[in-house]
Symmetry: C2
Subunit: 296 residues, 2 copies
Amino acid sequence: MVSLLLTFEMLYLIGLGLGDAKDITVKGLEVVRRCSRVYLETYTSILTVGKEALEEFYGRKLILADREEVEQEADNILKDADISDIGFLVVGDPFGATTHSDLVLRATKLGIPYRVIHNASIMNAVGCCGLQLYKFGETVSIVFWTDTWRPESFFDKVKKNRQNGMHTLCLLDIKVKEQSLENLMKGRKIYEPPRYMSVNQAAQQLMEIVQNQRIRGEEPAITEETLCVGLARVGAEDQKIAAGTLQQMCTVDLGEPLHSLIITGGSIHPLELEMLNLFSVPKNSLESQSIDGLGT
Amino acid sequence: MVSLLLTFEMLYLIGLGLGDAKDITVKGLEVVRRCSRVYLETYTSILTVGKEALEEFYGRKLILADREEVEQEADNILKDADISDIGFLVVGDPFGATTHSDLVLRATKLGIPYRVIHNASIMNAVGCCGLQLYKFGETVSIVFWTDTWRPESFFDKVKKNRQNGMHTLCLLDIKVKEQSLENLMKGRKIYEPPRYMSVNQAAQQLMEIVQNQRIRGEEPAITEETLCVGLARVGAEDQKIAAGTLQQMCTVDLGEPLHSLIITGGSIHPLELEMLNLFSVPKNSLESQSIDGLGT
């Protein structure tokens, strides 16, 4: 097999997949090992291993790139990409949960060719729970609420998806390089420890939205009994999947990040249900419970 | 890094990604090389290289498994998976376009543990055209029409997606191990050459549906001017992407299979549009054309 990859100097956007260092593709690894500089994007997702484990496996140094750097110093990242290969590593797929279109467009404007080396992302790997991927509607993001900012607007999309019988993948918030209000106001670049929303937290926020809608006299699109699926560390050896009611998602223990949550679409295909039963919590069949969503 | 993968004998469902032999993950390759038997699923998708190229790269023999075998002889595939590792290779991701839930459920019933090694599939790799993945609605399949079977029902899903401002990924038909009517009736296991639907063929069928709806006095959800994206060999080095009207998709030359088609959702984000302009056909900006879908 002759690879043409070596012919041009360019920007490579390389997906790392979801688990650990070995989830990179063989092609991706070859490119990483020969690039003159390799950046590791750190703000949209994480692997179960850190930068050091990746560096050890790749046998080379990586440059961390947070959102600020990618957005404000894209030209530094692209520097010399016309005369040497530059790698930009993204957990999941480069065009997965978040788009890296901006970097591609900047490269193109500078006349730098680019190439994407795809990998699994949560957007397709969620299929492992048994829900059929083609039946997913619009993906939503659930952000950490604060005392003063408690957005509910994403809930309309869940409603629309359910009205159309579609499942909703909820991507859960990640806070990295977050500054406390005090440090932010004083301009001190001191950052809080990273935070990753758990399925429990997401489910609790959803329960509160349901309650709020009831108080306002609205008919909520989901209830405490709606069938949901919590997923943790998808693709890793210790991945966990739990299928149960929204209420159960408030307390199920899925362990370390990253977590994702699926709100099922109301009508579940028998084959989907059979797969979900492998992951039901508590460990009795989902069919024996009065769960909203099991009318098929 | 110590891998725990070696601990249990089990069934491995391994995604191969989309391009060639080197799109397997490092983890997947390690598993393939040590399994006692490895099957290659041949009916849902294809790579740009064949079985021989894979065998050469993996350094081992593969057993082809068509739909019939997987469905009717699953027990053979699973034989001895409790005492040795069995690999089952799927182009894309094992839970991508088509579900392989059935094999997983059979393994589980036999007490055989399983593990999924994810990879890119068309379901997430289409993000490379610049359309945002979270804005895709239900995925549809477009099948080859015959003289007597010309289904249009999938078109309702396109309509619903567009009403909700969502893009529609259309997976295009694959016919492998197809028998002519004569051979089928005579019980002869002689198969026609494989057929893969092109973007041109899909667009032509869509145009006919639009015409039929007009004849019936219905308002079609799309027109000849609707902005579409044709994709060919996504993830391969010679991948091609073309953005233009449905009309243009009828004649655009994207080369060899596999092809996919996206019908955009009506309202395109400026960043999406800027990316699509990299692939516009003919080579003038999409903004200068009277294309349906560019109202933002």
